[in-house]
Symmetry: C2
Subunit: 469 residues, 2 copies
């Protein structure tokens, strides 16, 4: 509590706890219904899905003013708590109107609006049921993330956003500069080439695409660590699953192998879902009704089942047998070595196992250089967590901790060993087995809220052609 105002969530959660007490609440009136000598107000302060029902009697001094306001007045008042979710004004001067919104001018239409429409008014959309429910769930998923990793002894490491390394290799990057001027003649140049030594960092720098390499530095000294911060991809994809700026969670565990990694990832996802089931049931009920029918059962189903561990090789066998038995795939050219499409991943999770599945030990040709090579030399110890109706939610791997093997893989992948000096040092001085995974936070929010478009689960979405507000 900040100041002396009671939050509506607290009153609603207290059940009969506040009956008979006088408290001050404040919020925004969602509806005002005027009935002769009474006026009914639904007051919402954003702390919970449901608002507080307030009964205003005509003996209060400003009854006329309160009652004639159409809707969306913004109020603060002392009132007596009568029963759960209902308040009765008891003092003549108790009801204060702080601000009003002219209903003629107010840009937010009453009733249900399309997410596309709301996105155009990103500064006002948390006032509606849909986006405030998403915001409360997003908040609790972020908090649950910290609680889970802290409870499991992981240290939160702030890996850098500005990176001088262009060798993270996870996608197109944004360049950062202080010498990029709209007047081209003002850009410091030497014979038509930008003089990068005059830039702020005296070299070319970019926005990070992943904190993994840097968080590994801390793993190989502090054991278990994680990052949770913004990451960037300058990809022009206009899909419902991509953003140019999004938040990523990347834990890294020392003295742990790929199966420990799966256990941690499963534990994390279940912890998050359970946290929302316990703390946001009102929001989920709304989303279940309006956004994704069956959402609550879907989430309960995920947490109730053990996630399957299935090797990539087994996965290919399963797909081939299914194909022989008549299953149809858009990409029907299924063979060992292929990169699975979303349809294949979802088939395995939804149709075959009907629960989340870890697919692991992928052909090394389709995975990143830093993943640990298996004994037969064909695969790397990578894992993807596949979720029914979602597809891949988490990707991770055991890291290659052997100096020589890693050096070899860097060469094989066409990268330069000298770009990875600090990273190689970790293998040179006191190397240990370690593993980790990465999770796009918005993907988790989408799964838990049932929202289909990633632009509707982040406060101010950034994507190709759009950086508004």
């Amino acid at each position: 509590m900040v100041g002396t105002i009671y939050r509506i969530q607290e009153l609603l959660n207290a059940g009969e706890g506040y009956i008979g007490q006088t408290v001050t609440v404040a919020g925004w009136a969602r509806t005002v219904r005027d009935q002769k000598n009474l006026c009914f107000i639904e007051l919402n302060d954003g702390t919970s899905f449901g608002g507080l029902q307030i009964v205003v009697e005509d003996k209060i001094a400003n009854f006329e003013q309160v009652a004639k306001t159409k809707y969306r007045i913004f109020t603060q008042s002392d009132r007596k708590h009568c029963k759960e979710s209902c308040q009765r004004i008891i003092d003549r001067n108790a009801f204060v109107i702080i601000g009003q919104a002219d209903p003629e001018e107010y840009p937010m239409a009453k009733g249900v609006q399309k997410p596309e429409t709301l996105r155009q008014k990103a500064h006002l959309r948390p006032r509606g049921n849909f986006f405030s429910a998403v915001t409360r769930i997003r908040n609790n998923l972020a908090y649950a993330t910290h609680v889970f990793f802290q409870n499991n002894g992981c240290l939160y490491i702030h890996t850098p956003i500005i990176t001088g390394s262009d060798c993270e290799g996870a996608g197109e990057m944004f360049r950062i500069s202080t010498i990029f001027d709209n007047d081209v003649s003002k850009i410091p140049q030497i014979k038509g080439k930008v003089d990068t030594t005059q830039d702020f960092f005296k070299k070319e720098v970019n926005l990070t695409v992943s904190g993994q390499l840097q968080v590994e530095h801390f793993c190989i000294s502090m054991s278990n660590v994680y990052t949770f911060g913004p990451t960037f991809r300058a990809e022009k994809a206009h899909t419902h699953r991509h953003l140019a700026e999004f938040w990523m969670i990347e834990p890294e565990f020392a003295f742990a192998d790929l199966f420990d990694n799966m256990e941690a990832a499963e534990g994390y996802v279940k912890f998050c879902i359970n946290y929302i089931l316990q703390n946001n049931m009102d929001d989920l009920q709304f989303l279940d009704k309006r956004v994704k029918p069956g959402l609550i059962d879907y989430l309960k189903d995920i947490v109730s089942k053990d996630f399957v561990r299935c090797s990539y090789t087994q996965g290919i066998d399963i797909l081939l047998k299914a194909q022989q038995a008549g299953a149809k795939f858009e990409n029907s050219d299924i063979k060992w070595g292929m990169d699975l499409n979303s349809e294949h991943e979802r088939f395995i999770a939804e149709k075959v196992f009907q629960r989340p599945v870890f697919l692991y030990d992928y052909p090394k040709e389709i995975k990143a250089f830093y993943m640990k090579v298996t004994d037969d030399g064909k695969c790397v110890r990578a894992m993807d967590m596949l979720i029914p109706q979602v597809g891949e939610l988490i990707g991770g791997s055991q890291r290659e901790e052997r100096y020589d093997v890693l050096a070899q893989r860097i060469k094989e992948c066409g990268l330069k060993l000298e770009d990875y000096g600090p990273y190689m040092d970790l293998r040179k001085y006191g190397t240990v087995p370690h593993c980790g995974f990465g999770l796009g936070f918005e993907r988790l929010v989408m799964m838990v809220t049932g929202v289909e478009n990633i632009r509707d689960v982040i406060p101010f979405p950034r994507y190709h052609g759009s950086a508004e507000f």
Copy 2:
């Protein structure tokens, strides 16, 4: 716990809890002392300041190998827990050396090293006592931040990093682009001007300097909110208190005034310090001994006292009287309307009140446009939290919620009203009193650890001319 490895912190904290049990631990050997038939190893896994003392007897199979390793071997073993912080190897094959570091090559010298030296090896510095202590405290301060705001009903809002608005006005900004090419002829141009419509966001965008304006959007609908994320300043200051990339905490409270704001800020700082006093005493003892003598008493003193509330006008009076009584200031031209220097702020906190002080109600000419104008029209409801030995730790204000007054202030400050459309909408539709503050997270870490240079409290510091690792 991830996997089956016990963390050393857990064993040390358990007191006698694990006596007689066999557990597996893993970590990096800080020292190995060889004594005839015995070998003593101090094993550290980064989870606590103190390591685990391990006694290895010569009956284990690889005793020779273990004993002859100079130092910094990296071990994993099954051993019996004998008494607090001491382990005895019980199984012949129990001690496994995973990786080694050649002491001749290892870049980290034994013994105390200067912070400047460690900074050059940022990827290895968490292996030493100094930076691992700072890292553990930084982690706990970040977590305490979330716990405090969540416990007080504040929602965590991820405000955007990439911003299309250049009107935040808090400092020099970094530009972000995908069309900035080192070959100047490849930059899309129209008559010598960069064609910004061809850039990724189809306009000029920058890295954020503050999430305040955007988090206010959420405050005026969800009540209490906060941001905690990276912010950027392209300032070439080479001081021990400035970074180009740093993390900021910015809470915003609805239906709250400047005094509520002070209460929240005081509560927050005390909560953080108490959290560290309770959870990081070993780290603090080391820092007290090696970095800032008296650190623990200093922190205990801060949390034990009520912070003072003193208006700017009173502050000026106090300084003038002190000057008349003989106090010397480098800037001796003290008068109402001036911007106080650090020496003045510290004098008030250290000499006059000997505790943290909120200075509030500053002349509007020296503060930002969005702060609420006082009734006499001379001041704004701004506050600074001044801390002995530190100076300003927190700055905040009540926000101007009156549309007309805010519009007037924007004009007075030479800004354009049309740049603040969404921000003005908040005052147009259901405005409420609200306030908030901002805190550079690294400043908090510096205060709590006693570390003097901000580059030594962040994993990978970014500043003018440097974006390494």
